[in-house]
């Protein structure tokens, strides 16, 4: 399928490509494979999902028109609302913890002159592990029989603090949050560290000459200079926390006990594949898309208003 179309005169002025018919055809052919792949497995499901959410369908028989009744049902679905609440708690807590602890770790690494590369690499190891591996690992750490955590509490004489970390509906969600933060901490710390290293040291020196103490220097130099990085870490953490919690929740609790750790994706999957409510599940997916989209767009708009083009 080689199209030799080299008759077109060549504009040799660098940078400025004059538009010629050949370019359009070549561009079309070069984009075509990507367009097919994208259209088939991205655009079409996206559009079809919306269509589906406006119907009632079990995945096999003929779909019937349902209007917005799926969405109406969602508003009154207590399990869904609980899942949404858990999801929001998860997102907010995880994003705050990743930012605070990530910045803290980065500040430590920025000061440690010996072995920085080593510590950085070590903190990054969980990032390269799969959610499944991390989830299984932590399900054993939390295990009441041979788990590292409870037996560790015994070891240091704090046996009274032993918990059923994943079995107690009041704390299970937070136990899962700890796992997600553990996995991603190194990632956010490395981004913060890279950001810290772009702050010119003259800023600190002049602040020091003006008599600013360490805390003031942190507040008036580090924090303002790091705002773009805070935004980046927030947006990375945010989009991840909304939609990348299925694996961890599924492996650790499957949404239990009694939906205490149910998140939107686990509920969507159980609706689709246990109850066969394909169109209802599609509506759940769409609501999640709207929430993620609004959160990202809102954050980007905020970023632009703060003139933090990144």
């Amino acid at each position: 399928m080689t199209r030799s179309q080299e008759a077109a005169p060549v504009s040799s002025r660098s940078g400025a490509w004059r538009f010629d018919a050949g370019d359009g055809v070549v561009a079309f052919l070069m984009i075509l494979p990507a367009a097919i792949l994208f259209g088939l497995f991205y655009l079409w499901p996206f559009v079809n999902g919306f269509w589906l959410s406006l119907h009632n369908w079990d995945g096999f028989s003929d779909p019937t028109w349902a209007g917005i009744s799926n969405y109406k049902r969602l508003v009154h679905d207590r399990i869904f609302l609980g899942a949404l609440r858990n999801n929001l708690i998860f997102v907010v807590t995880v994003v705050i913890l990743k930012n605070v602890l990530g910045l803290g770790l980065a500040l430590l690494l920025n000061r440690a002159l010996l072995g920085r590369t080593f510590f950085r690499a070590a903190a990054f190891i969980p990032v390269t592990m799969s959610f499944v591996a991390v989830g299984l690992l932590w399900s054993w750490i939390y295990n009441p029989v041979f788990g590292l955590l409870n037996s560790g509490l015994d070891l240091v004489g704090l046996g009274a603090l032993k918990q059923s970390w994943l079995g107690d509906a009041d704390i299970a969600l937070y136990s899962i949050i700890v796992v997600d933060v553990w996995k991603w901490l190194g990632f956010h710390a490395v981004i913060y560290l890279a950001g810290l290293q772009t702050i010119p040291s003259e800023l600190y020196e002049s602040a020091k000459m003006d008599g600013a103490g360490p805390l003031q220097r942190f507040r008036h130099v580090t924090v303002p200079m790091m705002m773009p990085i805070v935004f980046i870490n927030t947006i990375l953490g945010l989009s991840g926390a909304f939609v990348r919690n299925f694996d961890i929740v599924y492996v650790l609790t499957k949404g239990g006990p009694n939906h205490a750790t149910e998140v939107v994706l686990t509920y969507m999957m159980s609706k689709a594949f246990q109850d066969g409510a394909m169109s209802y599940a599609a509506a759940i997916g769409y609501v999640l898309f709207l929430i993620v989209g609004l959160a990202s767009v809102g954050l980007l708009a905020l970023m632009r208003r703060q003139r933090l083009d990144v």
Partner: protein, 302 residues
């Protein structure tokens, strides 16, 4: 990466020979204590990160009884049989083959499809160019997880359920927007003169792309390969959605089903996790600079 010596301690003096004395003099007692505190905190972080992993390695070598009686410590003897048993019972061999096949195919498809698209968007002028970029950016805001149900239905209609090559195409599609976006930013920076010269010599666009431009954007290709590898090799969600038959399942699925299928084969679970996790960690440690730079690139532009 520039190591900006961060006040209040600046240690970037060249006097390596007198380092210790220099340290004492420059920091004073308070500075030394501060540094000790920093290292103590770092060791704590190191411990909470690495000890759980070491614990899995320990546990994989213990007998089941010892796992319960000696939770924290190293194994008293090495039960290597755990590995052989885990390998056999969990069917690790075929899972590893599946993971390699799926990830490898997906990455080949991804690079083959994303590169010409990114090149066209970056270097050619044609109507609708802006639209392609806008679609790629918009798609990055739509995580594939939210359309799992319609994606499942499309795959079912095309007969791609339980199809390893099918899921490879779907993985490539989900990684496509970000990859095009990244590669485009690499192509944009290349000087036009190179291309002009090649065109004068009569080279076609495809030849220019393959022989001249592609070697120059190798770092960009490496970047999308690293991203794609971590994402696809570790994925559970889409595999769970699309690979139902045990014979086509990838490593993450295999681990979960092994864990759920057999009750309390604890030391074998630990061995299975070690087998699947250790190689990736070793590869990471060997290439950690590229990995870290790759995974955080773009997030921070100097």
């Amino acid at each position: 990466m520039r190591a900006a010596a961060n006040p209040p301690i600046s240690l970037d003096d060249g006097a390596a020979g007198h380092r210790r004395r220099g340290l004492m003099q420059r920091l004073g007692m308070r500075g030394i204590l501060e540094l000790a505190g920093i290292y103590a905190a770092l060791v704590l972080v190191l411990f909470e990160t690495l000890y759980p992993l070491l614990w899995v390695l320990f546990g994989s070598l213990k007998t089941k009884q010892e796992m319960l009686s000696n939770v924290w410590g190293p194994p008293s003897s090495l039960v290597l049989q755990n590995y052989a048993d885990a390998w056999r019972i969990a069917g690790m061999g075929s899972r590893i083959v599946n993971s390699v096949f799926v990830t490898g195919s997906a990455l080949i498809i991804l690079v083959a499809v994303a590169t010409p698209c990114a090149y066209a968007v970056a270097r050619l002028r044609f109507p609708g160019r802006g639209l392609v970029v806008a679609v790629a950016v918009a798609a990055m805001l739509v995580p594939p997880q939210v359309m799992a149900i319609p994606l499942f239905l499309v795959a079912r209609d095309l007969g791609l359920i339980n199809n390893r090559l099918g899921i490879a195409f779907i993985y490539a599609a989900t990684s496509l927007p970000l990859s095009v976006f990244i590669l485009r930013s690499f192509f944009v920076t290349l000087p036009a003169d190179l291309e002009d010269a090649a065109r004068v010599d009569g080279a076609s666009r495809l030849e220019i792309l393959i022989h001249i431009m592609l070697p120059l954007v190798r770092p960009g290709v490496a970047l999308i390969l690293i991203f794609g590898f971590i994402e696809i090799w570790n994925d559970f969600f889409l595999a769970f959605l699309l690979l139902r038959d045990p014979s086509v399942q990838t490593i993450p699925l295999g681990l979960v089903s092994f864990f759920q299928q057999y009750d309390s084969l604890w030391s074998l679970y630990f061995a299975a996790l070690t087998i699947t996790t250790l190689p990736v960690i070793v590869v990471f440690v060997a290439m950690q600079r590229q990995f870290i730079a790759g995974l955080t690139a773009g997030a921070v532009k100097g």
